[in-house]
């Protein structure tokens, strides 16, 4: 792609960047630089200021102090329009796509075609008419070149999270960004997709582009990047060449203490069956079969992991159990009660917690405060509401503050609107809420997506603790490492069916990988 393309980008310097939010110093005199051809990783705990620093670079936020130099010239951007014009691109942690528009239309948003010549008519034309057909063609070429498969004509709302991510990457590629910021691009991708992405990113770096890569997954950072800069509490801890880095060194730089990556785990003490599904079928958002005959059981005191490539029915599986999606056939039983297509309210009252995959849509109400979101599921309990009516703001605040301490959630205040928290902190709050009601069954969908290693460690410990307390846990994760680490039993899902079951002790990773890709399907049946 890049051959013959004359790239302007030489280097970027950010010097002494300061950004103050109400109650939070998000960036505290941060220095940062990227060279052409370099992939530079930005590491740090949730709320360390990574996204903020990048949003400043991209022109979304204005810094209070410091300077940004692109190729030694000041980048005085007042909005992304300016930075995009100078070749900066950003892929956000939370997608910025319009759900009702198609992939092509989303790419076309904000694009302006080059006028064919300098005449007034063609300038006017290029400003007022978008040739969607041409955009579509170029898009298809691009997605074939980089092996980013996505149907250009599907509306965004029909796409899985992973597919939406691909659209975001395509959009940045389409705009020809030379300095590309990727804010946790892999959080939603499958291992195979991550490998594909890395090929593209390396190719882009070889072309002479600069790449900034944010991730909480240390092995990715070590695998992909050339240099690593670590932030903590808005300050730059230091930079290190990737060849000198190990997981342990990085973790300690980030958290300020050594982090454990393996847990000693007692064998599961399996109790009675708590949750079971019999031949459950359901339809996906796209109208295609989402689940086609799924049966399984989760016992008290065990973690059952569901491994699989994104979009193979994981979302439907979780939503059917939580009562948010209709099961068109089969039955779901929890705690010896039939909950097939029961109201979410009833399912919840039985003691089933659900940590949703799309926390920004399903897990929180963006314009509500942190405290309001914390009590969302329990707002009627006597503890939070006198006579189940008048809200006890002091109690709510106390409980929320306790959760904030326990889960180390970074927020200026309990009354802060939750949408201003960093992604990982939102996830922690959802988790805190879901575990606070002492549930018997926990459905955890991507529970550590976008969460920093310190917090992952904590969340994993919590899940294992719940398991040892006799809870039945269904862990749905596209992060195979996580499933292998925590699950006592692993079910592999492919095209809406379980194609294999593996016991913790008999795991052969290659086998699971094959099943996830669908090749073991026939042997299974």
């Amino acid at each position: 792609m890049g051959q013959g393309m004359a790239l302007q980008f030489k280097h970027l310097h950010m010097n002494g960047i300061v950004k103050q939010f109400p109650g939070v110093l998000a960036c505290d005199h941060v220095d940062f630089d990227v060279q052409a051809g370099e992939i530079h990783a930005l590491l740090g705990e949730n709320g360390a200021g990574k996204s903020t620093l990048m949003k400043i670079l991209y022109g979304l936020y204005r810094h209070d102090e410091g300077e940004i130099l692109l190729n030694d010239e000041p980048l005085n951007a007042s909005s992304p329009t300016d930075t995009i014009a100078r070749g900066v691109g950003m892929i956000h942690q939370h997608f910025m796509l319009v759900p009702s528009l198609t992939v092509v239309e989303n790419i076309a948003l904000g694009l302006r075609e080059e006028p064919a010549d300098a005449s007034f008519i063609s300038r006017l034309r290029s400003r007022s008419v978008l040739d969607l057909g041409r955009i579509r063609k170029k898009l298809v070429e691009l997605s074939e070149t980089y092996n980013l498969r996505v149907n250009p004509d599907s509306p965004i709302w029909q796409l899985s999270v992973g597919e939406q991510q691909r659209v975001e990457i395509l959009r940045a590629l389409y705009k020809g960004s030379e300095l590309l910021i990727l804010d946790e691009p892999t959080a939603v991708l499958t291992p195979q997709e991550v490998d594909d992405l890395f090929l593209i990113l390396r190719q882009m770096a070889d072309d002479g582009r600069g790449l900034i890569f944010i991730s909480h997954k240390l092995h990715e950072v070590i695998n992909l990047t050339h240099r690593i800069t670590v932030l903590r509490d808005g300050c730059r801890v230091g930079s290190i060449a990737t060849q000198d880095a190990t997981k342990e060194i990085l973790a300690e730089m980030m958290v300020g203490r050594p982090v454990v990556f393996q847990y000693d785990q007692d064998a599961a003490k399996r109790g009675p069956v708590r949750l079971s599904m019999q031949n459950v079928e359901s339809v996906s958002d796209r109208g295609t079969p989402g689940l086609s005959g799924v049966s399984m059981e989760v016992h008290a005191g065990e973690i059952v992991g569901v491994a699989g490539v994104s979009g193979n029915g994981q979302k439907e599986l979780a939503e059917v159990i939580a009562g948010l999606r209709v099961a068109t056939a089969g039955s779901v039983t929890a705690l010896d009660k039939d909950i097939t297509n029961a109201e979410p309210a009833k399912i919840k009252s039985l003691g089933i917690s659900y940590i949703p995959e799309e926390r920004m849509v399903d897990g929180i109400i963006k314009d509500f405060s942190v405290a309001e979101n914390y009590i969302l599921r329990d707002c009627t309990t006597q503890h939070y509401a006198a006579n189940g009516l008048f809200m006890r703001f002091n109690k709510i605040k106390d409980a929320c503050e306790e959760a904030i301490r326990a889960y180390a959630i970074k927020t200026p205040h309990t009354s802060t609107k939750i949408k201003s928290l960093s992604g990982g902190n939102i996830q922690k709050l959802v988790l805190a809420r879901e575990l606070s009601s002492d549930p018997q069954i926990i459905i955890a969908s991507q529970p550590t997506r976008g969460v920093d290693i310190g917090a992952i460690e904590y969340i994993h410990h919590r899940l294992l603790e719940e398991r040892d307390n006799g809870k039945a846990i269904l862990l749905i994760s596209e992060d195979l490492d996580e499933v292998l680490l925590l699950a006592d039993r692993i079910l592999v899902i492919y095209e809406g069916q379980f194609v294999g079951e593996v016991d913790r002790d008999d795991v052969v990773i290659e086998e699971i990988g094959k099943m996830m890709a669908g090749s073991a399907q026939h042997e299974m049946a």
Binding site: K55, M96, P344, I364
Partner: protein, 390 residues
Amino acid sequence: MQAQTRLSWGWLQRLADFFPVFIAVLLAVITSAILLIALEADPFTAFSEMLGGAFGTENAFAETLVKSVPIMFVAIGITIAFRGGVVNIGGEGQMIAGALLGAAVTLGLGESVGWLVIPLALIAAFIGGGLYGAIAGFLKAYFDVNEILSTIMLNQVAVQLMNYLLNGPMLDPESAGMNHIPKTARIAEIAELPRLVIGFGDNALFDRTRLHWGLIIAIVLAVISYILLWRTVIGFRIRAVGQNERASRYAGFRVKQQIVLSMFLSGGMAGLGGAVQVLGLQYRLQTDGSPAGFTGSAGFNGIVAALFGGLNPLGAVPASVLFGGLLVGAQKMQRELGVPAAMITAINGIIVIFVVSSQIFIQRRMQRRAKLEIAAVEKNKFEDTAQETG
């Protein structure tokens, strides 16, 4: 330098947010002025008459308040519905439903229960308007019927039902058979809401005006509604559903019931507004047969007042007074200048159109901004607050 750019940013931002409303008012005034000039009336005299007519004298102000009372009730109700994510355009119909039931109870009880007839009639009116609103809520929640359409159609149904009842079963026996106006009998004196007088003796404010206790009821309800929305679990759930149905459903709220509930409360408020017109002002239920014959369009004006009031019940109170002033002032202007009566409706309509479209404009602009760069919006907001605090 850096600080300066930030400052000017915040200013621009704030100005831009209010700009549409100012522009809207300005455009409305200009458009009205053109209409007035076309009618050979002096726009300056016209607008000063209008202002004086609304707030110039004690009596004028009292009339303004009288006019604003039903608008206030509806606006409070609309606020609840909108907060719950339901676009209730049925204030007219819900007012009528409340007034019909309230009047029926008042007339049926007569003097038999003494002053207790007032609370009983008001409760009946609340239930009447509430159930009428709940119909649209039910249709939306369970059959996915667009509430804007259903509430507008239910307005028509209510008007025709009232016309039928006031020409037949509920017709005042004394005027039956003659070339009558559709109206019920006069209510018992004990059922009348007392006149509202502030202070004692000769200096008392609003002595000898038509202002009644409906105003106080409305203000109390505004406070109660505020508490309901922001201090109780009921309001918490209503607002949650209004903001994010999916998250609410998953949090275990019965979303369908919440929608019906917010429409019930919303309609109930409008219903009270209808009954208060009967008990406090007209002392009977009467209409001229036209759609706004009884309500005076308070059911529609309440929507604008609710938006004006920032979808906050407490804001609905002053917003309604402003709106009442507009109506009364326009009447005065029409009398003084001798322009056709239709001019009032025209000016009101113009103002409503401009203000509502400015609201839509603001929303669109915010959505567009949000769509393009969600974060950019947050940034501006926080920079504003950062300035205020720091």
